[in-house]
C-alpha cells in the first residue's frame, strides 16, 4: 500500500494510475496534517511526499513521521536545488525525485526504498554488474579478479554497498567514513571516489556503478 501526498489533483491522479499499474493500493492525502493522520491509520508500505504542501512544509511532515515511523519515504518535488534535496535526505527521506519525472524511474526508486526498509536477511555478498563485494571476507572482485583497496577505500565502498541504490549525501559519507570533524572536507571524498572509480569501473571517465548525484552526493547502482 502506498500513500501519495501532494496538493495537486493532477499529480495524485497520475501517481495513482502509475502506482496501481505496479500493484500498489493507493491512498491519497492533500495536506501535511492529513498525510500524518493517514500514515498513522493506514500504516502504508511507502510514502510519496511532495514538499510544497499548503499547510506545512514537506520536510516538517518528514520530521514528524520520523518521530515514530521508519516507513520508506520518497520525496517527489519541483524543488531542484541541492539544498532542498540535502535537507530532505538528511531528515530521513529515502530518496529524492524531481518533477518532472519518468514513471519507470519512480517505480524503480520506490522498489529500492522498500527493499532497504525490509529487514532482509543480511547480505554477505553484494553483486552489481562486474563488481562483487564479500562483506564478511572483505574481498572485492571486478570481473572475478580481486582488487586491492586501501582501508579508507574499502570503508567508503562498504558504506555505499550497505545503502546500494540510495543517494548518500556528501556529509553523510564523510561523517561515516572519516568522522564528524570531516563533514565539510568534500575534497577527500572527490579524491577517494576517483581512486575507487579507477579501480572498479571499466571506464573510469564514464562511471556506471559509482554515480555522481550533482551537488548532493553519490549512489551505488545495483545492476543485475
Amino acid at each position: 500500500m502506498a500513500l501519495v501526498v501532494d496538493d495537486e489533483v493532477q499529480i495524485r491522479r497520475l501517481l495513482r494510475v502509475c502506482l496501481e499499474s505496479d500493484g500498489y493500493r493507493v491512498h491519497e492525502a492533500s495536506t501535511g496534517q492529513e498525510a500524518i493522520t493517514e500514515a498513522a491509520q493506514r500504516k502504508p508500505d511507502v510514502v510519496v511526499l511532495d514538499l510544497g504542501l499548503p499547510d506545512m512544509d514537506g520536510v516538517e511532515v518528514l520530521k514528524r513521521l520520523r518521530e515514530w515511523s521508519r516507513v520508506p519515504v520518497l520525496v517527489l518535488s519541483v524543488r531542484d536545488r541541492e539544498e532542498d534535496k540535502i535537507a530532505a535526505l538528511d531528515h530521513g527521506a529515502d530518496d529524492y525525485v524531481t518533477k518532472p519525472f519518468g514513471a519507470g524511474e519512480l517505480l524503480a526508486r520506490l522498489r529500492v526504498a522498500r527493499r532497504h526498509a525490509d529487514p532482509a536477511p543480511e547480505l554477505s555478498v553484494f553483486r552489481s554488474g562486474a563488481l562483487e563485494v564479500d562483506l564478511t571476507a572483505r574481498v572485492v572482485k571486478v570481473e572475478g579478479k580481486e582488487v586491492k583497496l586501501t582501508a579508507t577505500e574499502y570503508s567508503l565502498l562498504r558504506l555505499l554497498v550497505q545503502h546500494a541504490g540510495k543517494v548518500l549525501t556528501h556529509r553523510h559519507i564523510l561523517r561515516e567514513v572519516w568522522g564528524p570533524n570531516y563533514a565539510e572536507q568534500t575534497h577527500y571524498l572527490r579524491v577517494y571516489m576517483a581512486h575507487l572509480r579507477e579501480k572498479l569501473e571499466r571506464e573510469p571517465g564514464k562511471p556506471r556503478l559509482l554515480i555522481t548525484e550533482p551537488g548532493v552526493g553519490y549512489r551505488l547502482v545495483e545492476e543485475s
Partner: protein
C-alpha cells in the same frame, strides 16, 4: 492570485483626495473693522458657528474674548486647541500652538488678531506668518483685523490719530482674502467704550481718548470702508486671474520705487504699494549699489527697506552702477516699467552739480516715456543722516591724521627746497603730494590736504611770507588755480579708488562663482558634487555648512548629507525643514525664526526645492547685503548644477526603463513562441493518441514527441528561473572541490537525449587537479554550451569538450566545426535575449547569458571566438588554487 502589492482602488482614491487637499491653499477670511470694539471677534465666532453647524471641521486656534460674557458664550461648542505657554523674562505669555493646529489639520481654524506680535522665540515673529503657514497647509482661516494694522494704511492712521502703529500686516497677506466688514457707527462705538465694553490694553490707556475721538473714528471708518471696497474689487481680479480671463495686470502699468538706506524710503515703498494696489499694477523695488561701500548702519537700513518692499509684494531688484539715475533707468527699461517713484529732494545738494543736476532732474530728463513721481518722504526722517559706524569713524579719523601729517612733511621738504627752486614751483610739489595722497585715502582727507597745502603755500612760501595776503595777480591766479586743480584731482583720484574697490568686490564675487563652477564641473558623480558644494560654500562663506536633502520616499522629510561639516542640531533641522517646505530662506538674518544659529537657504531649481543649505557663520557680525547676494548667487548656481545632475539621472533612468521595456518585449516574444511550440506538439500528439486502433510504431513516435516537447518546456522554465535568479542576485555559488572529468561526464549523461546522434569528444588533460567550483552551476554552463553547439551546427559535425590546467587557472573549451560566429555578433552574444540573425528557429537567447552569469558568479571568465579552420570556440577560465592535502581515514 491575490497580489498584496497591488493597491486597492479605494486607497488610491483616498491618496488622490489627500493630495488635492494638500495642494489646495486654504482660504483666508478677514473680519475687518475700523477700530477695536466694533465686534470683529463676535462676528467671526458667529460665522464660525454657522460653518460648524454646516458640518465643517472648525477649531479655535487662538481667540481672545477678554472675558466678555456674550463672546465667551459663542466659543462654547467650538473645539479649542490648547495654547502654547512661553516664559519670557519672567512674564508668562500664551500663543497659538501652530504645530498643534497643523497636526490637527482642521478644515477651518479661527485665529484672532492677525497683526499680533508673537512671543520672542516663537517660530515666526508675527502671527500673520503663522496664518500663512496654515493657509499653505490647506487650512481655511478666519481672522480679525483693524484698518490701522494694514501696512499700507498705517501711515494714514498715524497722520489721523497721531499714534504710531507698530504692529502691521503686509498687504500681500491680505491679497485674495475674503473681507467681511464689521461696521459700527462711531457714536455707538463711543457708547460701548464708555460702558467698558471695549478692551483696551493697559499700555494704550493713555492714547485711548485721542484714538477714539469722534473725528478720528469717522476718518478711520472711511479708511476701513474704502480698503474693504478695494478688496472686493481684488477678489474679482483674483477670480479673473484664476480662470484665465484677461491679463494679470489689467492696466498694463508697472511701477518701480527707488529704495535707498534712507529711513524715508519706507514711506516711499508704502506709497508705491498703495498706488500699485489702486492701479492693480505689478511693482518693483530697486536699489542701486554705488561704488562707495555702505557702512553697517546704512546696510541694515537698506536691508530693512528692501524687506519691507518684499513683504508688501514687490519684486526686489538690486543692481550695481556708479550712477543712481542711470541704474534706475536701466532697470526700468529692462522690466518695462511705466512709472518710477522717487523721493522729493530736501534742500539743495551742491555735490549734485558735479553730476549734471539732481537725481530727480536727471531722471526726468532721461526717462523718455516713463512717468516720474516725486513723493515727499514722510515720517521717521529724524533718523540721523550720517550715522557712521564707530569702526568707519576711527578709520577716517586716522586718514585725516595721515593727510595732515603728509602736508606737514611736505611743507618741511619745501622749506628746504625753496633755497634751490622758486616758490611758485613748490606749488607743484604740494600738488604732487595731494595726488599721491588721494590714491590712498578717501575723499574727505584729500580735500583737507588740498586746502591745507593751498594755505601753507600761501602762508609759508608766497610773498609776503607768513601772511595770508597775496601781493601779485600772478600769485592770486596761481593760488586759485592750484586750489581748484587740487580739489578736482583729489576728487577724481578718490572716485577712481572707490570704483576700483567696487570693481574688486565684483571681481571677487565673479571669481568665487567661477571657482565654484569650475570645481563643480570636475565632479565625477553626485556624491562628489555634494562634497564639493559643502567644501566650496564653507570656504566662500567662512561658515560651517550642512546640506539637507529630501529623504527618498518620505515627502517633506530631510536627511542631513553625511559629508556636511555641521551636524545640524534638532532645532536647526526643523528650521531647515521649514525652509525646504516653504521654499524660503529661514533662520538668522531672515524674517523666520531669526533667533536660529544658522541661516537656511533652500536650493531651488525652478519651482522645486532640491534641498537646503544651512550655514553657521564663524564670525558673529550680521550678514551684509553683499555677502548675502554672493551666497544667493552661489546657491542659485548650486541649484542649477544639482538640477542638471538630476535631469541627467532622470534621463539615465528613462533609458533604463526603455531598455527594460525592450527586454520585456523580447521576453514576451520569445517566451510565447518557446512555450507555444512544445504545447502545440504535446496537444496534437496527445489528441492523435486518443484515436483508437493505431499501430504501435506510430504510438511510440507520438509518445516520443510528447516527451521531447515536455523536456523542452522544462528546460525553458529552468532557463527563465536561472536568469531570474541571476537578475535578482540570488545566485550564490557554493564553491567546492570538484572533479572536472566527473563534471563533463555527468553533463553528457544528462543530455543523452538532446545530443543523440552527435559525436562529443572529451579531452581531459592528465593529472587535472580538483577545481573549486559549483558543480551544479558548472553542469548547467557546460550543458548550455553543448546544447548551443548542437543547435547551431549540422548533425554529424563533431563537438569537442576539452579541459586543461594552466598554472593559475582551469581552461574549459567547447568547440564545434559549424559555420562559426559572424564577427558583428561577437560582442553581443552573451547579452540576454540576444539572438544572432542567423540563429535557427527556437531558443530564447538566454542560454549564453546564463553561462556568462554563472561563470562570473564563480569568479571566472567566458569568451567566444572563431576557430582557425572554421567553427566556434567557447572558452571558460576558472581560477585554480591548490587543493588541500588529503589524509587516509582514521577510522
Amino acid at each position: 492570485m491575490n497580489d498584496p502589492e497591488r493597491p486597492n482602488p479605494d486607497t488610491l482614491l483616498a491618496a488622490v483626495q489627500r493630495d488635492d487637499a494638500r495642494q489646495r491653499r486654504g482660504k483666508l477670511k478677514v473680519f475687518f473693522g475700523m477700530a477695536p470694539g466694533v465686534g470683529k471677534t463676535y462676528a467671526m465666532l458667529e460665522a464660525a458657528r454657522r460653518e460648524l453647524s454646516a458640518g465643517r471641521d472648525v477649531v479655535i486656534g487662538y481667540v481672545e474674548t477678554h472675558g466678555r460674557k456674550e463672546t465667551d458664550a459663542l466659543t462654547e461648542g467650538i473645539p479649542a486647541m490648547p495654547r502654547l505657554q512661553t516664559e519670557y523674562r519672567g512674564v508668562s505669555l500664551t500663543e497659538m500652538d501652530l504645530d498643534a493646529v497643523l497636526a490637527r489639520h482642521p478644515q477651518l481654524a479661527l485665529v484672532d488678531e492677525l497683526a499680533h506680535t508673537n512671543a520672542p522665540g516663537s517660530r515666526h515673529p508675527k502671527r500673520w506668518q503663522d496664518v500663512l503657514e496654515l493657509l499653505d497647509a490647506g487650512i481655511d482661516v478666519f481672522t480679525a483685523l483693524n484698518v490701522q494694522h494694514v501696512e499700507s494704511r498705517a501711515e494714514a492712521v498715524r497722520q489721523i490719530t497721531g499714534i504710531p502703529i507698530r504692529e502691521t500686516v503686509p498687504d500681500s497677506v491680505l491679497d485674495g482674502a475674503e473681507f467681511e466688514l464689521v461696521d459700527l457707527p462711531p457714536e455707538e462705538l463711543r457708547t460701548r467704550l464708555a460702558a467698558g465694553k471695549v478692551y483696551v490694553p493697559e499700555s494704550a490707556r493713555a492714547a485711548q481718548d485721542n484714538f477714539f475721538r469722534p473725528g478720528n473714528l469717522s476718518a478711520l471708518r472711511e479708511l476701513a470702508l474704502r480698503f474693504g471696497a478695494e478688496h472686493v474689487g481684488q477678489d474679482v481680479l483674483a477670480y479673473r486671474q484664476q480662470h484665465g480671463v484677461g491679463d494679470p495686470w489689467k492696466t498694463g502699468q508697472r511701477l518701480m520705487v527707488a529704495v535707498s538706506p534712507s529711513p524715508s524710503s519706507a514711506s516711499l515703498v508704502r506709497w508705491t504699494r498703495r498706488l500699485a494696489g489702486e492701479l492693480q499694477a505689478g511693482w518693483f523695488a530697486v536699489s542701486v549699489e554705488l561704488p562707495q561701500p555702505l557702512n553697517e548702519n546704512q546696510q541694515a537700513r537698506l536691508s530693512r527697506n528692501l524687506a519691507l518692499a518684499r513683504e508688501l509684494g514687490a519684486q526686489v531688484i538690486t543692481t550695481t552702477d556708479d550712477d543712481v539715475a542711470r541704474g534706475l533707468l536701466r532697470v526700468a527699461r529692462e522690466q518695462n516699467v511705466t512709472q518710477i517713484v522717487v523721493g522729493k529732494p530736501v534742500g539743495w545738494q551742491a555735490i549734485e552739480l558735479f553730476r549734471g543736476g539732481s537725481l530727480l532732474n536727471r531722471l526726468i530728463r532721461d526717462s523718455g516715456h516713463v512717468d516720474i513721481h516725486a513723493v515727499r518722504a514722510e515720517g521717521e526722517a529724524s533718523a540721523p543722516r550720517g550715522a557712521v559706524g564707530p569702526r568707519l569713524r576711527a578709520q577716517s579719523a586716522r586718514a585725516y591724521g595721515v593727510a595732515t601729517a603728509v602736508v606737514a612733511a611736505v611743507t618741511g621738504i619745501n622749506a628746504v627746497l625753496q633755497h634751490w627752486i622758486g616758490y611758485q614751483a613748490l606749488a607743484l610739489i604740494y600738488l604732487l603730494s595731494v595726488v599721491i595722497l588721494a590714491m590712498f585715502v578717501g575723499r574727505g582727507p584729500t580735500l583737507l590736504a588740498a586746502t591745507l597745502t593751498a594755505l601753507s603755500w600761501n602762508f609759508f612760501f608766497a610773498e609776503p611770507r607768513l601772511t595770508f595776503r597775496i601781493s601779485t595777480v600772478t600769485d592770486l591766479m596761481l593760488f586759485l588755480t592750484y586750489f581748484v586743480v587740487a580739489l578736482a584731482m583729489g576728487h577724481l583720484a578718490a572716485r577712481l579708488r572707490s570704483e576700483q574697490a567696487a570693481e574688486r568686490r565684483r571681481e571677487q564675487r565673479a571669481t568665487a562663482l567661477y571657482l565654484l563652477t569650475r570645481e563643480l564641473a570636475q565632479a565625477s558623480d553626485f556624491a562628489d558634487l555634494l562634497a564639493i558644494v559643502i567644501r566650496e560654500v564653507s570656504k566662500a562663506a567662512d561658515a560651517d555648512v550642512s546640506l539637507s536633502l529630501p529623504q527618498e520616499g518620505l515627502e517633506g522629510a530631510l536627511t542631513t548629507y553625511f559629508a556636511s561639516s555641521w551636524a545640524l542640531p534638532e532645532k536647526e533641522q526643523s528650521v531647515a525643514a521649514w525652509a525646504f517646505r516653504r521654499r524660503q530662506p529661514a533662520g538668522r538674518d531672515t524674517d523666520t525664526l531669526p533667533s536660529s544659529a544658522g541661516l537656511h537657504l533652500p536650493i531651488m531649481a525652478g519651482e522645486r526645492a532640491l534641498g537646503v543649505l544651512s550655514l553657521r557663520f564663524r564670525g558673529a557680525a550680521p550678514l551684509t547685503t553683499e555677502r548675502r547676494d554672493l551666497l544667493d548667487s552661489i546657491v542659485r548656481q548650486i541649484g542649477l548644477v544639482l538640477d542638471r545632475q538630476r535631469l541627467r539621472d532622470a534621463e539615465q533612468q528613462a533609458k533604463l526603463v526603455a531598455e527594460s521595456e525592450r527586454l520585456s518585449k523580447a521576453l514576451l516574444n520569445s517566451v510565447s513562441h518557446e512555450i507555444r511550440t512544445p504545447i502545440a506538439a504535446i496537444t496534437s500528439a496527445a489528441s492523435s493518441l486518443d484515436r483508437s486502433g493505431m499501430d504501435p510504431g506510430f504510438q511510440h513516435a507520438m509518445v516520443g514527441e510528447i516527451q521531447g516537447a515536455a523536456w523542452r518546456l522544462n528546460r525553458l522554465v529552468g532557463n527563465l528561473l536561472d536568469i531570474a535568479r541571476l537578475e535578482t542576485g540570488h545566485v550564490k555559488p557554493k564553491l567546492d572541490w570538484c572533479d572536472v572529468g566527473d563534471l563533463v561526464h555527468a553533463t553528457l549523461k544528462d543530455l543523452k537525449n538532446e545530443l543523440e546522434g552527435r559525436e562529443v569528444k572529451v579531452e581531459i588533460g592528465p593529472g587535472l587537479p580538483l577545481v573549486r567550483m559549483d558543480f551544479v552551476l558548472m553542469q548547467q554552463v557546460l550543458g548550455n554550451l553543448l546544447l548551443n553547439a548542437a543547435a547551431y551546427t549540422e548533425t554529424g559535425t563533431p563537438i569537442q569538450v576539452s579541459a586543461l590546467a594552466q598554472p593559475d587557472r582551469l581552461v574549459l573549451t567547447v568547440t564545434d566545426r559549424g559555420p562559426g560566429l559572424p564577427p558583428e555578433v561577437l560582442p553581443l552574444i552573451f547579452e540576454k535575449f540576444y539572438r544572432a540573425p542567423s540563429a535557427p528557429a527556437g531558443g530564447t537567447g538566454l542560454g549564453l547569458a546564463i553561462v556568462k552569469g554563472f561563470v562570473e558568479a564563480q569568479g571566472g571568465r567566458v569568451s567566444a571566438e572563431n576557430r582557425a579552420g572554421g567553427g566556434a570556440a567557447f572558452t571558460i577560465k576558472l581560477p585554480l588554487t591548490k587543493a588541500p592535502p588529503v589524509m587516509e581515514a582514521t577510522t
